[in-house]
């Protein structure tokens, strides 16, 4: 489906549910066998959110926690002192195993708290873990690290100032280790209902990244968009991506039903035959931006629910889905790769091509196997006999605009066509007509 371009999406698999931190070799081999070449360095495997929560509750006295709960934001005195057993030391064997297996590590994720955690007594521990993560990240040659903001037990009016201080301190270390810190859109737990949290507002996200970078005088901060968190808060993903622009360095792809926080295989969460995540808005936005960053595939909950014997097949399927996203998002890059192009097919897909890309990437003509329409003009394109393709200039690509891709490709090969053959697809288009050709025509303008 894809050909290598200079700037393209890097597919990254999140290891949660697949790779065991104690013996990572088998899981990494499984990922490798499925075709994944990059893995997320997920430090939360060493100290999962629920473990952190347990630690926090053990260390916070009952009275302090009760007081905090009552006053919602007063800081407890009993902060973690840094002398506990929690550490990221186990990540070293993970990094070592990745290096041995040739599994690239380009992006990491620092430990984080459950969204429902309310007390401030673990914020010092989180800061310590974030610093440790940055060091490990730098040593592993990792370019990016996602670090969630501090939120637990912090009053709304102090969120910005406390995090500014936190991130500025981390930035100095990140600079030393040549790592870029990525902020991420958060959900806030409102008594079990996940609503928009820190940096879920696009204007806030932009202002945080820009303000940090301006203070530092360098691009030390970027953004990672968590599709699952966007979906839980019903956010307009197209607008979010457009607003972030070049700040967007990574996307966490995961599906959920919009109500429960899960990390499902994309397209898995459906109801009445419809997806429950706005994949159209996501792909539209990323395609328009020419996104070529890290695409983290997180399917932890799907993996956990599957029988382990099916993991190899499931992972191969996941890789195919990841490739599909890469292909759809990079569709415009494929169009612009060639100096000229012709279309094969003169139906709805051709019509949609002409609506969205006809002006920007005009085809020379279209061709079709239906001899009845040879010589006619469709959407401004002359429809020709496929035999005409034999006279194409060498650099001209043939874009198949019909879902019988394989059959048409075979036909072209049999005809001896040596030009590049690409598949065009209109499932995720920048815009659509209000009708399809087979329907009775309806006006395509609104008064």
């Amino acid at each position: 489906m894809t050909e290598k371009t200079n700037k393209e999406i890097n597919i990254v698999c999140a290891p949660a549910g697949i790779v065991s931190i104690k013996s990572p070799g088998r899981g990494i081999a499984c990922l490798s066998d499925a075709g994944f070449e990059s893995m997320l360095l997920d430090f939360s495997l060493c100290c999962p959110p629920e473990e952190l929560e347990k630690t926090g509750k053990e260390r916070g006295t009952e009275a302090a926690l009760a007081f905090e709960e009552e006053c919602c934001g007063e800081s407890a005195e009993n902060e973690y002192d840094g002398n506990g057993s929690i550490s990221l030391s186990q990540s070293f064997s993970l990094i070592e195993q990745c290096q041995k297996s040739g599994m690239r590590i380009k992006i990491a994720y620092a430990p984080y708290l459950p969204r429902s955690y309310k007390y401030s007594n673990l914020n010092a521990l989180l800061a310590m873990l974030a610093k440790e993560s940055i060091r490990a990240c730098g040593q592993a040659g990792c370019k990016y690290i996602v670090i969630r903001p501090l939120f637990a037990g912090i009053p709304d009016e102090e969120i910005w100032s406390r995090n500014r201080e936190y991130y500025m301190e981390l930035a100095l270390l990140a600079r030393e280790y040549e790592v870029q810190i990525l902020l991420e859109n958060q959900c806030r737990d409102r008594n079990g209902h996940l609503v928009r949290g820190i940096c879920a507002d696009i204007y806030e996200a932009i202002s945080w990244v820009d303000s940090f970078n301006e203070t530092l005088g360098e691009e030390r901060f970027g953004f990672c968009m968590d599709v699952g968190a966007c979906n839980l808060c019903g956010m307009n993903m197209y607008d979010f991506i457009s607003g972030l622009g070049e700040r967007l360095k990574a996307v966490v792809l995961r599906d959920c039903d919009g109500s429960h926080e899960n990390a499902l295989l994309p397209f898995a969460s459906v109801n009445n035959g419809q997806a429950q995540t706005d994949w159209l808005g996501l792909i539209r936005g990323l395609r328009e931006q020419g996104f070529a960053g890290e695409m983290i595939f997180n399917m932890k909950d799907t993996i956990s629910a599957f029988p382990s014997l099916l993991y190899p097949e499931l992972l191969k399927w996941a890789k195919a889905i990841a490739d599909y996203f890469k292909w759809q998002i990079g569709m415009e890059n494929i169009l612009k790769k060639y100096p000229s192009r012709v279309l094969f097919g003169a139906g709805n897909m051709c019509r949609n091509y002409m609506k969205c890309y006809g002006e920007k990437y005009p085809p020379l003509y279209s061709c079709d196997n239906d001899s009845a329409i040879w010589g006619t003009v469709f959407c401004g394109l002359e429809v020709k006999n496929p035999q005409c393709l034999k006279e194409l200039p060498e650099e001209c690509a043939v874009f198949i605009c019909n879902i019988y891709y394989e059959e048409i490709k075979a036909q072209l090969k049999d005809m001896g066509i040596r030009n590049p053959i690409e598949y065009f697809n209109d499932e995720y288009m920048p815009s659509y007509y209000f009708d399809r050709l087979e329907m009775k025509a309806v006006p395509d303008r609104i008064f």
Partner: protein, 329 residues
Amino acid sequence: MRLGVQTQNIINDSNPSEGFAMMAKAGFACADFSLNSYLINSSIYRGELNDFFNRTVRELEEFFLPHKRAAGEAGVAIHQMHMPYPMYVPGGKAELNDYLWNQVAPKSMELCHFFGCPYIVVHGFKLVHYLGSEEKEWEQTEKFIHSIAPMAKEMGITICIENLYDGLGGHLIEGPCCDGKKVVERIDRINERYGTEVLGFCFDTGHANLAGINFERFIGMLGHRLKVLHIHDNDGIADLHQIPFTFSRSRGNKTSTDWEGFVRGLGKIGFDKVLSFETAPVLDAFPEEMKRDAIGFIARIGGYFVERGKIIFETGMDTKVYAFCQENR
């Protein structure tokens, strides 16, 4: 601050006096006139129009004269009205959309004026799937607003756009008018063009809750542009239009909707208009015998919001801290 509630499920066309009297007795000084209940959205989407708006403006006014009189006699002001929606059906027949735009919309404006109602709520068009972006979608909504704005100016009515949701396989997500910054820019630009407040905003708590929007921040951004409220609650999953404080999503059983943020937001902008409840489905849920109690309870919640606002802004304190101080004084 006055309290209001929608007329749907309370006012009966054959005897509107009874319903308005019930509203007044419960403590509502204002009504949100549910004009949309005379041409319901599901019928419009199916292209199945009734003949209600085939009437002339004069005939429509005659139809609603008893309602107007009954409201006046009960001392209930028609503070806001809901125009039928949608006003554009994507893929619908040209005649259908023409009828909605050129018959239903202007006649709704005439009726709003007839009732002496200062605000009419309209829905933005849901076209992002076809047009590709919210900006392009808004361009079409704005065309519609311009089609009725001259009437609004002449009649002294403010058209209010409302934050809406859209659906994906039953999952409700952000729809038109959910970006506070864009909303503010658009309202100001249009009002400047007409030299008066032809456009304002209707904040719908239930829709905001479905899209996880921060109530306090959104209301704070709207400021004086916020004219009308649709107060109702849900579980964050479905648009249920239920009584505030009734939904919980955790074992603590605390409300999963940010009502404190709502009150703080209103206080911040000095909102002094009507706390209007859009809770008609509640009256379907309760038995007929309990209808009056249910309406009374909704009004009581309105009263609570007013009191909460006073406490927060007179003391500058968070509710829990205030309660704690009161107990330990």
